[in-house]
Symmetry: C2
């Protein structure tokens, strides 16, 4: 998509990033991506996800080695601890997206970051999932994120960085705003 240049900020190839932005301004279709996952139920609360191919920058990419993720529940939730559970994967997704959004947008502005650590807490009342109460939300009631940023910045500047991360993070915005999710039976299986 862009000639690889060696100008790096926070480990982000800023030259490539700016080239990409310029090319997308010329041809917005370059920005259309489709990401994918496949899931196969194993047994009980256990299932396995495979991530490999995606579409983006006007082409299919199947060059990655398939990445597999085991999902399960702890025994208290009828599982066998054979993987993190789905709502924990959601926190993982959120954490990765906020971190990358902060790092990339800081790099684009020439802000040097030495380290970022963050922790996430999500409250959930399982009476929703279990169908015991229609009044409690089925999803997370609230998610809290706590950041530790190592950089030569004031507290207010760090808070601004985090706001930038929130503004530009796809996962944050998918969770924060209502997102359309369509479902159907795969052809031939009805």
């Amino acid at each position: 998509m862009a000639a690889i240049q060696e100008q790096e900020g926070n480990g982000v190839n800023v030259g490539q990033l700016f080239d990409t932005i310029e090319q997308i301004k010329q041809n917005p279709d370059l920005a259309r991506f489709q990401f994918r996952a496949r899931n196969k139920w194993v047994a009980g609360t256990r299932n396995r996800v495979t991530v490999q191919d995606f579409y983006g920058a006007l082409m299919e990419d199947s060059s990655r080695v398939p990445m597999e993720f085991d999902i399960d529940e702890p025994p208290v939730l009828c599982g066998k601890n054979l993987g993190a559970n789905p709502v924990e994967y959601l926190l993982a997704a959120l954490s990765g997206c906020l971190t990358t959004s902060i790092v990339a947008h800081a790099a684009a502005r020439g802000i040097v970051i030495r380290g970022i650590q963050s922790r996430y807490e999500g409250d959930i009342d399982l009476r929703g999932f279990l169908g015991i109460s229609e009044e409690v939300p089925v999803g997370y009631q609230e998610i809290r994120m706590f950041f530790t940023i190592d950089a030569d910045l004031s507290g207010d500047e760090k808070r601004e960085l985090i706001e930038m991360g929130k503004k530009y993070s796809p996962v944050y915005n998918t969770i924060r705003n209502p997102t359309a999710v369509r479902v159907e039976l795969d052809a031939g299986t009805a």
Copy 2:
């Protein structure tokens, strides 16, 4: 939380599930869970998530071995393919949650499922993330899910199962509805 019984449906311990529901009806605080994740930035678009402890059923659980997840981007997005990316982890979370919700609620109703496979597609326009356009959503524009269910059920009955999964899936409902996400700097780091 519940005496382990051997009555299994779809690999779900239905006896434990029903015991849990009865206990929660007596004491709703048993249903309050808090899940957690920690993230450490590595470099560029690469970071690492750790999932281990959680709170639920009135106690802290740190008995699990820490589970680590590498997050990165493909080269076209300035990464080195050292892990799935955050929006792919989001699809993984969604897939695991829908699958478990369908399997558990089917088991509770005595519906036998032999297999479930599903695939997920999410459309995203990276002009949002890159700050090129304020008009396109930053998050997923749409997520589509396609299910293949192996069970002695009609197409309509399979669609009903999927609707049940959507109704009770915490990740689906976190994505489908606006969810509160609060953020702050960790104490002492401002």
